[in-house]
């Protein structure tokens, strides 16, 4: 690596110039997704997946580092023993009882 581990080659201003529009679009997409759910009919019981996104947004707003890593960990299965059987083939994206 030509720069110390952890230090991007580009400075903050250059990284903002490069990534701002994409990040702006993603923030709007999340807000619009939550708006869409508010407008929709049907069961209004909180969904664990949506609650996990809300919890992740709180982590994203923190000032301490490793936000992406901490969000991924908060969505992860906290158990340590193998499951008795495979519960279907597909994961759901977040564990039903995420750590926050």
């Amino acid at each position: 690596m030509s720069t110390p581990a952890g230090t991007p080659p580009l400075d903050r201003k250059a990284l903002i110039d490069l990534g701002f529009i994409e990040a702006r679009a993603k923030v709007l997409d999340i807000a619009a997704f939550l708006d869409r759910l508010d407008r929709a009919g049907g069961d209004a019981t909180p969904d664990f997946r949506v609650e996990a996104i809300r919890a992740a947004l709180r982590i994203a707003l923190e000032t301490s580092p490793a936000r992406a890593e901490r969000i991924l960990k908060s969505w992860s299965d906290p158990t340590t023993e193998p499951a008795a059987r495979a519960d279907g083939k597909a994961a759901r994206g977040v564990h039903p009882t995420p750590k926050t």
Binding site: G19, A66, T80, A91
Partner: protein, 273 residues
């Protein structure tokens, strides 16, 4: 010039081979995986393994791309232990084929006891045949737990050198676990799940360029067979040196894969103009 060290070309069109060749791909490696449905008999795997070792190398060579394979029963079809053992009994014969690099992509999917037992039996096959190992780590909320179970199982097995094992699909919460134990780490570039190119470049910046590679894992699902050259473009935009980019996209996969005598990234003359 680049290597895509994990892509499922049986699911891709010939036009994808052409596009990859134009983008600079000189070699691919293709792990055995789940076809999107469960095969009805072990004989289905016999045909699939022939496709991986006979058909795909010919299809790739037409575009000057060297094709290599990994053989296993994927964890998504490992829940029936008896079925899995029948498939595993075929592996040693296919390890002798000239384009096969080792056992893969083995690992866990939903972190079940049977998946873990089948994974451990694959490790034993790899140890017995001195084969390289390519490991699939689970998706989404199962990844962290599954990665820990996999790494602990390898340690308990104790017969394999971590330098000959690549643990794939790492993300921010698993990459450190893998690298600290001496394994190679793979980052898969997917549009929605696993890593985006931007996050993969972040991980490279945070963890360095040693023992790490990028791959597309392009398959029949939402994926991009040109994900590696697009990540190279991201690295250039982010100010990385040509040497670091070449290391991630070519030197590192070549270094790991060349531990098998069957791997080559030497130029191959295309037969299609």
């Amino acid at each position: 010039m680049y290597i895509d060290p994990h892509i499922h070309m049986v699911s891709r069109t010939t036009d994808d081979y052409a596009r990859m060749a134009v983008a600079g791909c000189v070699a691919v490696t293709e792990p055995a995986f789940w076809a999107g449905f469960d095969r009805s008999s072990p004989a289905g795997f016999q045909d699939y393994f022939r496709q991986l070792t006979e058909t795909e190398p010919r299809r790739a060579a037409a575009y000057g791309i060297r094709h290599h394979s990994w053989i296993c029963i994927n964890p998504k079809e490992a829940e029936d232990h008896g079925f899995a053992r029948e498939v595993m009994s075929m592996i040693p014969a296919f390890l002798e084929r000239p384009n096969v690099l080792g056992v893969g992509e083995i690992g866990l999917n939903r972190n079940s006891r049977t998946e873990l037992a089948v994974f451990e039996e694959h490790l034993e096959i790899a140890a017995k045949h001195n084969a390289l190992v390519l490991i699939h780590t689970p998706h989404l909320e199962d990844k962290l737990k599954g990665t820990r179970l996999i790494l602990d199982a390898i340690r308990a097995h104790g017969k394999l050198d971590p330098a000959r094992i690549l643990v794939d699909h790492v993300e921010e919460h698993t990459v450190r676990l893998v690298l600290e134990r001496g394994f190679w780490a793979g980052m898969t570039l997917y549009p929605d799940t696993k890593c985006t190119a931007a996050r993969a470049v972040d991980i490279i910046e945070m963890h360095g360029t040693n023992r790490i590679w990028i791959n597309s894992a392009g398959d029949w699902g939402h994926s991009d067979p040109l994900a590696v050259p697009k990540a190279v473009l991201s690295m250039r935009a982010r100010g990385h040196t040509a040497a670091d980019i070449h290391k991630i996209s070519f030197d590192n996969p070549r270094a790991f894969l060349s531990q098998s005598k069957n791997f080559s990234a030497e130029p191959l003359r295309p037969t299609v103009a």
